[in-house]
């Protein structure tokens, strides 16, 4: 990270597990992240890589029956691991906020949007209901919703997905949090709206001065909007690098294969796509050694024996692969 950038998220060795004691299944196996103010750090990976669970763990919102542990989980300098749930609840929505993939599911379908705005604003900002109404209009203005008064009187089903996602972004940023976790924020939207919403997030990030964790499966999106990329596979970060470096010189065989496929699909001349054989392992059962080994064209006996650790190959560039250790 650039010198002088204030750190808003510092998480060390984050683990998420589920199940009762004795038969605990580990799902996220030690993720460490640092996000600076006005920086966007991406978590990319395919379904079942643990990227969404990692995002939820930062928010203290993992599903019932799961447990989260970390050496350190500092948001804006405050250690969330030492907090009780009521304390965490006061931080959530204020210092750390989240935008989800499907705004329709994030809103109550039977309440007018304005009502839901004022619930959240009175709670998170401690303002009166009438102040909340004024604030709601300002917030909608800030995300490019022009007819705020009418919109606030509507129910979620009366609006398009793009409009709702703008509203969710406005709501998430109401308290000007230190950190925003955006989990596939544009995946449910059409391409032309995706560009609009990502531009909006980038703009609001600057204005609010927050850091952002962008959870996405889309390498194209990440290339355009993230400063740093973390590639996840089977509950671990397998490669981390500044975005330009990651796309210019990826090292991990999984990153290499993913990028090659994405680029081949995007270039019209490709005759045969080089797909990765097989499919990812279940999150709770990554096998022994490197979880990618069964699909890796470079795998040797060594790969199934030891779990490779993230090690630096260049400034800010870490890779978890035995090949890069030589």
């Amino acid at each position: 990270m650039a010198a002088g950038t204030e750190t808003v998220l510092d998480v060390e060795n984050l683990r998420v597990s589920s199940g009762a004691r004795g038969e605990r299944r580990v799902l996220v196996r030690g993720v460490s992240l640092t996000v600076g103010r006005r920086r966007t750090v991406a978590l990319v990976g395919e379904s079942g890589s643990g990227k969404t669970l990692t995002g939820l763990a930062l928010m203290g919102l993992t599903p019932a029956g799961t447990a989260v542990a970390a050496e350190r989980l500092l948001v804006g300098g405050v250690d969330l691991t030492r907090m009780s749930e009521p304390e965490f609840a006061r931080v959530r929505g204020r210092r750390i906020a989240m935008v989800f993939q499907n705004p329709m599911e994030a809103l109550n379908p039977v309440l007018r949007v304005g009502h839901q705005f004022s619930q959240v604003l009175t709670r998170n900002l401690g303002v009166s209901r009438s102040d909340a109404r004024d604030r709601a209009r300002e917030l909608l203005d800030s995300v490019g919703v022009s007819d705020a008064r009418r919109r606030l009187g509507q129910y979620p089903f009366e609006m398009s997905g793009g409009m709702l996602q703008r509203m969710m972004i406005a709501l998430a940023l109401a308290a000007e949090p230190d950190l925003l976790v955006a989990d596939e924020p544009t995946t449910a939207l059409d391409t032309t709206l995706q560009a609009q919403v990502m531009a909006l997030l980038a703009e609001r990030r600057e204005d609010v001065g927050m850091g952002m964790v962008l959870v996405s499966h889309d390498l194209g999106l990440v290339a355009e909007y993230a400063d740093e990329v973390n590639v996840m596979y089977a509950g671990r970060v397998v490669e981390r690098a500044p975005t330009r470096e990651m796309f210019a010189s990826p090292v991990h065989p999984y990153t290499l294969a993913l990028l090659r496929t994405v680029r081949e699909i995007a270039s019209p001349g490709t005759d045969r796509l080089s797909s990765i054989p097989g499919s990812p392992p279940p999150l709770d059962d990554p096998g022994s050694g490197c979880a990618f080994a069964p699909r890796c064209s470079f795998a040797t006996a060594e790969c199934t024996a030891v779990v490779p650790e993230l090690k630096g190959v260049a400034e800010g560039h870490d890779v978890a692969c035995v090949r890069s250790e030589r």
């Binding site: 997905g161 391409t191 032309t192 560009a195 609009q196 330009r244 994405v262 990765i276």
Partner: protein, 343 residues
Amino acid sequence: MQARRDELPPSVDVRDLVVQFRVRAPGVGPRVVVRAVDGVSLRVGRGATVGLVGESGSGKSTFGRALLRLAPASGGSVRIEGEDVLGAGHRELRALRQRAQMVFQNPIGSLNTRMRVGRIVREPLDIQRIGDRVSRRARVRELLDQVGLPRDAEGRYPHELSGGQQQRIALARALASAPSLIICDEPVAALDVSIQAQVLEVLKDVQRATGVSYLFISHDLNVVRHLAHETYVMYLGGVVEHGPSASVFASPRHPYTRGLVAATPVADPERARRSPLLRGEIPSPMEVPPGCRFHTRCPFAEERCREEAPVLGETGDGGRVACHFWRELPREDPRAAPTRGGA
């Protein structure tokens, strides 16, 4: 062989298809007629792959469904291998559905989860009474091979298999009656990119082996450009551009196509970040704007666009575009196109 193919009627030939629904506006409003598909003509030649792209609400899925009368057509004509679909009686329709099949986005939603894979794939043969027991069994094995599923998949249930494998089952089932056309509606949209590539390769292999043609409906420009020989671009129920995929995506003419291309992310951080060319959202199909249906979002719209609907006209190089001003628009890379104030 090639000459023979050209003499045969195309896999599907659609002329001026109209699909409309009577719906009530949100809240309590009067019933209104929505034209989800408003006079679309499209042709898929034998053994060809034709892409149909557009955003949600463009009518592309409704169009695909109407070809098999899964959505009600109220005008125009559909011919599958030369035979009339819209006027077909019950028996003829059943026979026509052997020749044109459909594969959907969510394979698990379109497969009977209580059946084993072998039976799922065999069922169309049973229903259509194709072959006897022994030949059906052999055919199932052949189909599983063709889509790259392991032999032991036959005895398993769909939920035991991955999303990519489930989509292969759906494809094997669609292929069972040896159709001339498969309508693929977002077949890889729900799959991860590494699995997408596998399924796309299977689609190509199957086409090489059987000569089946595809109508490939998708919002994903990269996938369509990769797979489709020609592409139609739909917006609010109408086709705004059509041509060979290479030229539609490399030098799009219609401002909407240009906006779509510009908005598609590229996995290359060295490229300048795109500024969104298109503002706003696709209007509700209940409120299709007068004149050019795209004028409310077009950065280049002028007075004429608000009054007169453009027709799909030849561009002179194999493409067609429905825009009054396509010749006069700035020709630079749409990615670099500035955001301009419009209507």
